[in-house]
């Protein structure tokens, strides 16, 4: 199989195998097409298209879905995954993975229930404690990955198991305590009495603010360093980026986002023993569906958000169709593979023109500096 420019082939050290000017076989687009292509780059267009398609099918099944309150209920349910996807995006775009978020959400909800134990005055201190726990987990993930050079998939698999086991040990498998009413407000309630929409969930407001914040962050110098690190950490290091710090910050960002998601999920549905199960894969699916390439360096926050909405919309659609829950994962898998393959064919996931035409960088140099 001859690699085509559309395929993201990797060198043996995990860095991108650039084939130099030869790779630039793209047509010289007209100005308009280039602009459109730029908009679609990173899979945003594919995710948006799929989301629109799913919404159309939902509308044919259940026209009342777009009547305000049901849409707001959807937003309330989808907000935690959107927030997790933003966190996961930060890590994936820097070239790493964070598998620990599902366990972290579970641990945070259990911690919250145990320490709040139904007492209102404990709400804010416990949220502070949760933020501290999120910070510590993010720092551990980041520092172990960057300074000890453990691949992030191993590091975060480890923290996932550690958190899961610690919670099991601590609670004996059955969480105790209760959340306070005020703790549950962000996840459960909203701004009431809005015409047409009924209630704007706080969860939606929080997700929008965080998404806007993440978009601004990615435009800041830090965001560019993060992107550069994910694209080629050796080159980034040479150009003065402190790779270890940037990546650690990304892990901290992901863990803090998971903490916010935990507050919303706990607020939404209260404490159950299963809270948080499988969320890490839902978040990674969302980011991939949004077209953020695993391995880093490309993709946009908006695409990750659209990916998360698509995953949630799929669940809603399956439910609207009375699709047996047993077959749902298979259908979901098919749709995701087809969507990502489609995006790859379209060129959404192709390197931007200017990068592909860049002269060859001998990235296989054994410098051993890839994780400073």
């Amino acid at each position: 199989m001859t690699p085509t420019p559309a395929q993201d082939t990797r060198g043996p050290d995990g860095s991108r195998d650039r084939r130099g000017p030869g790779g630039a076989d793209g047509p010289r687009d007209s100005g308009v097409r280039t602009a459109l292509a730029a908009l679609g780059r990173g899979g945003t267009a594919t995710a948006a298209l799929l989301l629109a398609l799913i919404f159309v099918v939902i509308a044919t099944q259940n026209p009342s879905f777009f009547e305000g309150p049901p849409l707001m209920a959807f937003a309330k349910k989808a907000a935690p995954l959107v927030i997790l996807a933003i966190g996961q995006y930060l890590v994936i775009v820097s070239g790493e993975f964070d598998l620990s978020v599902g366990s972290l959400v579970g641990a945070q909800v259990v911690v919250a229930a145990r320490f709040i134990d139904g007492q209102e005055p404990m709400t804010l201190p416990v949220i502070g404690l949760m933020a501290a726990l999120g910070l510590v987990v993010g720092l551990v993930n980041g520092l172990v990955t960057t300074l000890l050079r453990v691949p992030s998939i191993i590091t975060t698999l480890g923290t996932m198991l550690i958190l899961f086991g610690a919670v099991r040990y601590w609670t004996g498998g059955a969480p105790t305590g209760a959340l306070s009413e005020s703790f549950r407000v962000p996840g459960r309630h909203g701004i009431e009495g809005v015409p047409f929409l009924g209630e704007i969930p706080w969860a939606l407001v929080i997700a929008l603010v965080l998404a806007a914040g993440a978009v601004l962050l990615m435009r800041s110098p830090f965001g560019r360093s993060l992107m550069a690190t994910g694209d080629n950490d050796v080159a980034a290091a040479f150009s003065g980026v402190r790779v270890w710090r940037v990546r650690t910050m990304a892990f901290v960002g992901s863990s803090l986002m998971a903490t916010v998601a935990a507050i919303l999920i706990g607020g939404y549905a209260g404490v159950t023993a299963q809270v948080g199960d499988g969320l890490e894969f839902a978040a990674i699916t969302a980011v991939v569906l949004g077209g953020v390439v695993l391995g880093g360096g490309r993709g946009t926050v908006v695409a990750a958000v659209l990916g998360a909405l698509t995953v949630e919309a799929l669940f809603t659609l399956f439910n609207q169709l009375y699709l047996p829950s047993t077959i749902q994962p298979s259908v979901q898998g098919l749709i995701i593979i087809a969507a990502v393959a489609y995006a790859a064919r379209r060129g959404d996931l192709r390197l931007p023109e200017r990068l592909r035409r860049r002269p060859d960088h001998p990235t296989e140099r054994p410098l051993g500096t890839s994780r400073r």
Partner: protein
């Protein structure tokens, strides 16, 4: 290998459309679709066993009335004199546990440990060894083999993770000559001295379904919330409910698998509420019942008639909101019985070959009493845990 992108787009679109088409029918005709199939799956439905369990609910069990964990329904007593132990205080009990992966099993296992302590104080049993297979069949098979190989066990107690797979392992244990006690889920052999279980899944599902049929007007809609497919105790509950709903005038909207996850339950119930009223909720286990009820609160709709479980979070909500509800019970106190049976076997006393424990739902008239008895217990505790007279009560359960 260039695949035309149109093809891929088509494939994605087609998948969506196909799922839309193939599942249109059930949405339109709730009577005949996969969502509301009311003929139980043959694999999980045994008519004779169903009838037997429904009948067992009416039979008064033998044994002390205030100790349901020692009661038995229509027992056939077997002689155990061959297993008499000269010094029971030195006898080793070996327990192979499927897992403690849900609050029901956690509650039961605490009760079991406290029961061991009680018998140890009386000098009726000695050491208690436990291995936990974490829901892994292979692990449990090797756990049981290890007990057999050690040669230290005077009684082997097994709570199997699955029925068919664990059968050979239990048979191996029997062949070693050590008395074997099986409880909770069954195995396909009768080589053990006693098999302990509450009446069963059919009775549980029927208790819940019959309550909904009684309390709801004909033509009312019912949504079924199920944890997982393919687990016999849970499938039996649903099969019994299908059987009972089929003979009723209720309209079953469909069933959903929830994995007991509160967020999923709340989302699914909210979606059903958007599409029309839900008058009743049937659950195959009470996990997350409160999240389901909150979906009604958040949608501004009246509470449904609901069948939950004797889990305290649900029972407390029931009392607070004065719901029309029932708590079917899968008797958690059954975790005491294997230890007591082991003590009896070591003493050469007769035990029932199949020890069917009573299994009575908690109804409204008993609600306050059970909540009072379990006042200090955490919300994921089970009301009929039956450990009030054991050493360590209540700290062992409250500080888990």
């Amino acid at each position: 290998m260039r695949v035309p992108r149109v093809l891929l787009a088509g494939a994605a679109g087609l998948t969506l459309m196909l799922t839309a088409c193939t599942t249109d029918a059930p949405a339109d005709s709730p009577e005949g679709g996969s969502g509301a199939e009311l003929t139980p799956d043959g694999e999980w439905f045994d008519e004779a066993e169903f009838e037997a369990q429904l009948a067992q609910r009416e039979i008064t069990p033998e044994g002390p009335e205030d100790q349901p964990w020692l009661q038995a329904i229509e027992p056939e007593w077997v002689d155990t004199s061959e297993f008499v132990h000269d010094a029971p205080e030195d006898a080793t009990l070996c327990f192979s546990n499927a897992s403690v992966s849900n609050p029901w099993r956690v509650t039961g296992f605490i009760t079991m440990e406290q029961q061991v302590e009680a018998l140890q104080e009386e000098g009726r049993v000695g050491e208690f060894r436990v291995s936990d297979a974490a829901d892994d069949d292979n692990q449990q098979i090797s756990d049981i083999q290890a007990f057999v190989d050690s040669g230290d066990c005077d009684v082997i107690i097994v709570s199997p993770s699955t029925t068919a797979t664990l059968t050979p392992a239990v048979e191996t244990a029997c062949e070693s000559g050590v008395p074997v006690v099986v409880f909770d889920r069954g195995v396909n052999t009768d080589c053990m001295v006693t098999f302990i279980h509450p009446i069963g899944g059919y009775a549980y599902g029927a208790d819940a379904a019959e309550f909904l049929v009684e309390e709801l007007e004909p033509g009312s809609t019912v949504l079924a919330l199920r944890i997982l497919p393919g687990v016999d105790v849970l499938e039996h509950r649903w099969a019994a409910a299908q059987e009972i709903f089929a003979d009723s005038e209720l309209e079953v909207l469909g069933y959903e698998f929830t994995e007991g996850d509160g967020a999923k339950i709340k989302d699914l119930v909210s979606q059903h509420l958007q599409r029309g009223g839900v008058d009743g909720i049937w659950m195959d286990a009470g996990d997350g019942a409160v999240a389901g009820l909150e979906a009604f609160e958040d949608a501004g709709q009246p509470y449904p008639v609901i069948a939950g479980e004797d889990e305290l979070s649900f029972m407390r909500k029931w009392q607070e909101e004065d719901l029309t509800a029932i708590a079917p019970v899968y008797s958690n106190f059954q975790w005491r019985t294997p230890i007591l049976a082991a003590g009896m076997i070591l003493n050469g006393e007769e035990v029932p070959s199949e020890w069917v424990l009573p299994q009575e739902p908690i109804r409204e008239d008993e609600l306050d009493e059970y909540l009072e008895r379990n006042e200090d217990m955490p919300s994921l505790h089970y009301a009929k845990f039956g450990g009030e007279d054991l050493p360590g009560f209540p700290e062992a359960w409250t500080e888990r």
